[in-house]
Every structure is written in structure tokens, then in C-alpha cells.
Symmetry: D2
Subunit: 99 residues, 4 copies
């Protein structure tokens, strides 16, 4: 699929919520910079990094979930190449698991 | 150790570099918000999330590496409780691996 | 879907290869026991554990990939509830990412 | 350290327990082969793979924890190169986190 733009993405129904979560993650990245700048204790910083990684994974799983549901609903409606899209989703999961 | 502040943290020697990497990660979080706001393709967003997760892990491993090296150098010099610090580092690794 | 047995699973086409990979993983588990029994160096054991974890993840990604492709091919043919199956796959990915 | 064998490894105090856990993991690998051989449902197999991955990670964290505690106790007693050992442990953590 060379131009996926015409149809709204799978996360469209919760765009505001996804944005809010990413905004919070951005805040965590800023908080980490403050901690490092203040030369805070390394273990406390690592705890925050773990929390931020966990929040990121969680957003990724939401996006993937929406994408899988969306991708099939679309496919049923338009008859476009579902297998290619699932192979693509599968590759995205592999990148995620190994990130 | 109730007050770890007096001694500089293990990452002090590369504080500027760690800050630069966290700043870049903050930029990635902002980039993700732009992508979601523009309703870009979900798989492309997931690819960026994987890259950002990978960058975060990498910073965490640097901090941990510095902490382990530092914690021992310190311990040799001051004779404080190294085992407690290593147990603490070990717990941080467990959180990181499961994040 | 209360009885998924009637249709062959997604990995049917590479059943022999998946079995061979799991057999090798079983061998890695036995090799680890030998290393521990011989009281070998902890870091060398950890290196083998990482290799084994990596092999397991890789099998999981193969199974998931086959399942996603299969699940849609099936759904197109039989008209059964694809969304439920994708939600199920999505939950499996979440467990995998957090394992 | 070219010959780590002379001193007992960090996990020596719980060797029997570690062996029992690895034996159970070997059993999980055999159970997975049975499931695949019986052509069981892919999602159920993935659930077992996640459980097995989790068990492996858990053993790895135990070994690492023992190693860190041991490595320092040893170092205090013998004066050998602790920093090299910690760098080595740090590299093992990096492999584990990315496995």
C-alpha cells in the first residue's frame, strides 16, 4: 500500500488519549534530564527509565491492537491485500519485541 | 545509604552526553505526537516507538554500567556497604529487564 | 472460538522446522543444567541463557507470523469472527512483549 | 580472569534450586514440542512460550544477583580486578536486556 493516508488510522477513535499519553512520556523524558542535571542518584534515574519504557511499550501495544482491529475491518470493506498488511504488522511486532 | 547526594553519581563523567541523549529522546516523544496528530500510518509510528524504546534502553545500560563501575570504586575507597548497593543494582536490572 | 482443533494451525506448513527448533531449545535447557552442575562460570551461563531466550523469542515470532497470516486466510474463507481472533492475537503479543 | 573455576560460582548456595528450575524449563520445552506435534492452537502455544521465557528471565536474574554479590565478596577478599568483573557483568546485563 503506497498511500495509506486516505483512510483514517486505527487509533483515530482514541487519538486524544494516545496524544495525552505521549505528552506524559515527553514529560518523563524532561524529568529525566532534570534528574541527570541535578546529578541525582543513578538507581533512582534507572527506576524512572524503567517506568518510561513501560509507558512506551503500553502505547505501542494500544496502537498495535487498534491497527490489527482496524486493518481487518478495512480489508473486509475494501478487499485490499490483507495478507501484506498482516505481514507488515508481524514485522512491527518483531521490531517491538526486540527493541 | 540514606543520602547518596554527597558523592557525584557514576555518570558524572559523561553527564553532558547522557543529557544530549535524553534531549534527543524527548524530541522523539514530540515527533511521535506530531505523527499521531497528523494521523500518520500506525506501522510507521510503531517503528518510531521501537527506535525510541531502543534509545531509552541504551541510555539505561550506560547509566547502569557507570553505576556498577562507580559503586565499586567508591566502596573500595570508603568501605561502605557494597553488598547493599549491589543488591540495589540487581533490583534495578530486574525492573529494567521486565519494563 | 471454543474448538479451534478442526482447522490445522497456522504453523502446519513448517511444523517439522518448529519442532526441530524447540528440540534444540530443549537441548539448550539441558546444556544449562550441565553447566550449573559443573559449577561453570556464572557469566558464561548467562550468555547461554540469553542465547536460549533469543531462540525462544524467535520461535514465538514465527508462530505469531504464521498465525496472523493463517487467521485471515481462514476468516476470508469461513466468515467467522476475525475481530475476536485479532484481539486474541493482540493479547498474545502483549504477553510476549512483557515476558 | 582466564580461569574462573577455582572459586565456587556465585550460585553455589542455591545450585540445587537453580538446577530444579532449569529442569522445569526443559520440561516446558518438551511440553511445547508435544503441543506442536498435536497441532494445538497457536495462541495456546504462544502463552506457554511466554511463560517459559518468563521463567528463563527469572533464572537469569537469580544468577546475576548471586554473581554480583559473590563477585564483590570475592574481590574484597582477594583484591583481584573488580572493575573488569563488573564490566563483564554489565555486558551480560546488556545481552540479557536485548535477548
Amino acid at each position: 500500500m503506497t498511500d495509506p493516508a486516505p483512510t483514517p488510522p486505527g487509533y483515530i477513535g482514541e487519538k486524544a488519549r494516545v496524544l495525552a499519553r505521549l505528552k506524559r512520556i515527553e514529560g518523563q523524558a524532561r524529568g529525566l534530564q532534570r534528574m541527570v542535571d541535578d546529578e541525582q542518584y543513578c538507581i533512582d534515574i534507572l527506576t524512572q527509565v524503567s517506568a518510561m519504557t513501560s509507558a512506551l511499550r503500553s502505547v505501542a501495544l494500544t496502537l498495535l491492537d487498534d491497527h490489527l482491529a482496524h486493518c481487518v475491518r478495512e480489508a473486509a470493506a475494501t478487499g485490499e491485500d490483507v495478507e501484506a498488511k498482516l505481514a507488515e504488522a508481524s514485522a512491527a511486532v518483531a521490531r517491538l519485541v526486540r527493541a
